[in-house]
């Protein structure tokens, strides 16, 4: 089974490392790919596409050097492959308008305000990844122990008559 990717887009190395540390518990089945800005993130997305690896989730900061996080997510959402990717904005600096644009145009799935608590981020990411595998994965069993096991098991019970 090929692993899925979580893409973390954050320019400050300290913050980026903190996010990656919080998401460590997903690592047996999800590879965490760091990116420091939108350009870097797009390169990572292309690389994943070339390797046939699917990106399940993008956790992006809004205030990035160059293209802003919200614009980046809107661009991703407009591509065929990007539509299915779950998108979380992790930011303290997105204004009212940016936030509205993110929800309406980027298909934003969740907004986490900085500063965040590790437990909250884990539960948000767990929910998003569970949604993703329920929508996109045929075989749910491998994810039961790492994501929301109860929801996955209910789906397993439902899938066959």
């Amino acid at each position: 089974m090929s692993s899925l990717v979580i893409l973390v887009v954050e320019d400050e190395p300290g913050v980026r490392d903190a996010v990656i540390r919080d998401l460590e518990s997903f690592e047996p089945l999800f590879r965490i790919e760091p990116a420091e800005d939108a350009t870097d993130a797009k390169a990572a997305l292309e690389e994943c596409a070339a390797d046939g690896v699917r990106v399940a989730l993008i956790v992006a900061d809004h205030l990035l050097p160059g293209q802003h996080g919200t614009e980046f997510l809107i661009e991703v959402n407009q591509s065929d492959e990007g539509k299915h990717i779950k998108k979380v904005l992790l930011t303290g600096q997105a204004g009212h308008d940016d936030t509205i644009r993110a929800i309406n145009q980027a298909g934003l799935d969740y907004y986490v305000a900085k500063p965040w608590s590790g437990a909250d981020l884990i539960s948000v990411v767990s929910k998003q990844l569970t949604d993703y595998v329920l929508e996109e994965s045929g075989d749910l069993l491998p994810y039961v122990s790492i994501l929301d096991g109860s929801r996955l098991l209910e789906a397993i019970a439902e899938r066959g008559i």
Binding site: L141, P142, V144, S145, G149, L153, I156, A157, R159, I161
Partner: protein
């Protein structure tokens, strides 16, 4: 199943190549070599049988594909449509005989079971019932576990073992996650559910595919087993084994937790659709249990919920498409194989290989159950039953062997369900293992003991049956 998922694609393709290669050799040999005392038709069915063994064991092609292949090969090799005609003088079955397996009454019985199970999940009858039934068991872990096991077993008599296990573990998992990581109650609660589902599945003809395979092939041989009759044979053993398994697991997994709350509510869906479903469910089960009174075969009754739920619009085309046709076809493949074995005279030849008259009937039945148990531990329970039931019935129907065919079929089905030692043994185990709460070691320990105890419990049950005048 997990077995196929976790293996790398490389080893899967090796397995496929080996399976197909060995299967081809096994298929060709009986056709090339003249086997003394075996008719031409018998040799051809033997070829199909050997191919089926290799393919069902190696899973070189999917189980249901092998089942379909068996039906096709029988039609083109030993029916009146055989490509190379059979020598004159042999009774040749019509090709329809083999297609009929796909619509065998036992498949209709199973289809009814699927519809009831799907409805239970759709209208959350399973959750609500579990909430009601679990209440009297209080909050002590041992009692909760007993309640969970009894309810799981009861559900899995009518629903697929796998769906029941997934549903019940989904209920328990949030509670388990809050327990102390070192508490042995964690693996105990999770493991109790597949164990109970495997045991409960033995209880009715629709409980699990091996039962349907046994009932279906018995029917093809002219022996009708009613729903109630199967239950009467199986349920006493099921109850005893459940209690033994519960007691064993309580001892094997001591806990310090004093009380737990599963937080289950008895929220019954009160919509009209749900009420129609409840009535359909109750009437179907009542008709199944009272076949002796009204005489309607269980397969006909099984078609009733199918018609009612589709006609009332409770179930749509989407639900119909979601029927697990792969499971039904696998059962059909076994039935077709059994028909071929019996019609071609292969059965007499096979039985003639061993001097069975030297064995007691209990020894033969025990052997069948034990072989089914061992085989099902490593391959699919249904595939094992598909291969063993034709052999067991051949034996039991032969005048040289003193075994009741009903018992031969019954014990193969029971043996197949007792295989629960490994995560790959059954989908129920795979579900429990996926939670990460149960180690392979714990699973093997409990599975082996419950399997062995189950074998003893069920082999003793003929004594009980004769005491109450059942057989």
């Amino acid at each position: 199943m997990t077995a196929t998922d976790t293996k790398t694609s490389e080893s899967a393709s090796t397995r496929r190549r080996v399976g197909l290669g060995v299967g081809l050799v096994a298929f060709v040999l009986p056709l090339l070599i003249d086997i003394p005392d075996l008719s031409e038709a018998g040799e051809r069915v033997l070829a199909v049988f050997l191919l089926a063994i290799v393919l069902w064991v190696t899973e070189a092609i999917p189980l249901y594909a092998t089942a379909a292949l068996v039906i096709l090969l029988e039609i083109v090799m030993v029916s009146d449509q055989a490509v190379v005609g059979l020598p004159d003088g042999l009774a040749v079955p019509e090709y329809r005989t083999f297609f009929n397996a796909l619509a065998h009454p036992v498949l209709m019985l199973f289809l009814g079971g699927f519809f009831l199970a799907r409805g239970s999940s759709k209208y959350r009858l399973d959750r609500a019932l579990a909430g009601v039934l679990l209440k009297p068991f209080g909050d002590r872990p041992a009692m909760i576990m007993l309640g969970l096991m009894l309810i799981t077993a009861g559900f899995s008599m009518f629903m697929s073992n796998m769906a029941t296990t997934a549903t019940m573990i989904a209920v328990v998992l949030p509670v388990v996650a809050k327990l102390d990581p070192a508490d042995r109650l964690r693996p105990a609660l999770i493991l109790s559910i597949p164990v109970a589902a495997n045991i409960g599945g033995m209880g009715t003809p629709v409980g699990t595919p091996p039962n349907a395979i046994a009932v279906g092939q018995l029917a093809s041989a002219g022996i009708e087993v009613s729903f109630a009759k199967w239950m009467a044979l199986a349920v006493p053993g099921v109850v005893v084994l459940l209690l033994v398994a519960w007691w064993l697991m309580g001892r094997a997994f001591p806990t310090v937790t004093e009380s737990i709350d599963l937080g289950m509510k008895a929220d019954f869906d009160r919509s009209n659709a749900a009420k129609i479903f409840y009535v359909t469910f109750a009437v179907t089960v009542a008709l199944w249990l009272t076949e002796a009174v009204h005489g309607l075969p269980s397969g006909v009754t099984g078609f009733l919920p199918v018609v009612v739920l589709l006609a009332t619009g409770l179930f749509g085309a989407e639900d119909l498409r979601r029927v697990q046709w792969d499971v039904l076809w696998l059962v059909a493949g076994g039935i077709a194989l059994g028909v071929g074995v019996a019609q071609s005279g292969l059965d007499e030849w096979l039985v003639g290989r061993v001097a069975w008259e030297n064995f007691g009937s209990i020894a033969i039945v025990a052997l069948l159950a034990a072989v089914a148990l061992v085989l099902s531990t490593v391959i699919s329970n249904s595939a094992a039953a598909n291969l063993l039931v034709p052999l067991g019935l051949s034996m039991a129907l032969s005048p040289a062997v003193d075994v009741d065919p009903l018992l031969a079929g019954f014990f193969i089905a029971i043996g197949a369900s007792l295989a629960m030692a490994l995560p790959i043994s059954t989908p129920t185990n795979a579900v429990a293992y996926s939670t990460g709460e149960v180690s392979t070691r714990d699973m093997a320990r409990v599975g082996l003991i419950v399997g062995a105890v189950g074998l003893v419990v069920f082999l003793l049950s003929p004594l009980f049956w004769s005491a109450v005048g059942l057989t």
